[in-house]
Amino acid sequence: MRKLKLQMQLSVDGFVAGPNSEMDWMTWNWGDDIKDYVKGLTAPVDSIVMGRKLAEGFIPHWKAYVENPATKDEFSEKMVTAPKVVFTKTLNESKWDNTAIATGDIAEEIQAIKNQPGGDIITYGGSSFAAALIRHNLVDEYHLFINPAAIGKGMAIFNALDSRLSLKLVEAKQFDCGIAVLCYKPSGD
């Protein structure tokens, strides 16, 4: 069965954005080491799932990148060409190319995607979508990009659980830019 991977930038204290979506605390001067890690993570992906709020920015952003010869690259092309599923309670139809919408129960919808033949599924959020995936224990692999900053308060993805979730460490890597990537699977305990 296909696996769902979550890749998100986190502060040291577990937030994915400031209280008003601030991202100025994130480290962006990525070296080749971390870019290679992301390449490895993205290569087997052939489906991207996301919440509606993220989709509104994400989909046009990568479309513009690919249309501009100065920014078009392997990653941006994958973001555009990989079939996407946007989870929404408000839209009746998709307004984007290559993108379906999912309007039903999140666990059932994700399970249906996992049951289809194909490669890895990835999600980059947004925060409420990720929180729902985590709450239903639908994430098979967490790739947490721990940025070297603590922000005190902000948007969380881990605060909707009914009880604690045990994890199993797959690997931890330190990158030159100061980000530590921690990769976990749910431990099944």
């Binding site: 204290d13 605390w25 985590i134 603590a150 604690r164 994890l167 100061g178 530590a180 921690l182």
Partner: protein, 189 residues
């Protein structure tokens, strides 16, 4: 100048205790590998700073354990250090310090700690002491954080960095990985 180093067990989502103050989530991960690492951290310091609650818990435990021949060699060495090091306890309510080599600071905490930093000596290390650590964040008295990240999401509890007045940018100096799945992130401020 001497540094104040905070060495803390945290969950992946940034909590130092589960709801209700539970610490059980990190007890079962303790291994010899980790004891060795802790001993190494302690050997770079000559003073242990503690808040009242952690002090009371440790003072009840450690003096009895340095003579325990059932203890592994590393644990005995650690117990010896804990018992013999200078301990400085920050508390408004404690009056009697029953542990060997302990001194009390009841008021003007920031001023007293600044003075200690200027004295000759090795670094000062803080274990546990969540309340004390939170109170030292705003005046910027903490120089390094050593975060023992346990493979668990608690989803609630006592956060480590909630009292930060704004973003705290840090520098990741190294990471360590233990067979138990615990990762140690070393940050300097």
């Amino acid at each position: 100048m001497r540094k104040i180093i905070v060495s803390m067990n945290v969950s992946v989502d940034g909590f130092i205790a589960a709801p209700g103050g539970d610490l059980d989530w990190h007890f079962d991960k303790w291994t010899n590998e980790m004891a060795e690492s802790l001993c190494e951290q302690l050997s770079k310091a000559d003073t242990i700073l503690l808040g009242g609650n952690t002090y009371s818990a440790m003072a009840a435990y450690w003096p009895a354990h340095s003579n325990d021949f059932n203890y592994a060699r590393d644990d005995i060495a650690f117990a010896e250090m804990m018992n013999n090091y200078n301990k400085i306890v920050v508390s408004k309510t404690l009056n009697r310090l029953r542990w060997h080599n302990s001194k009390l600071i009841k008021k003007n905490v920031n001023g007293e700690l600044q003075k200690l930093k200027l004295l000759p000596g090795k670094d000062m290390i803080i274990f546990g002491s969540g309340t004390l650590v939170s109170s030292l964040m705003t005046p910027g008295l903490i120089d390094e954080y050593i975060l023992w990240v346990h493979p668990v999401i608690l989803s609630g509890g006592k956060p480590l960095f909630a009292t930060l007045p704004g973003t705290l940018n840090m520098r990741l100096t190294k990471i360590k990985q233990f067979r138990s799945g615990v990762i140690v992130l070393y940050y300097s401020v």
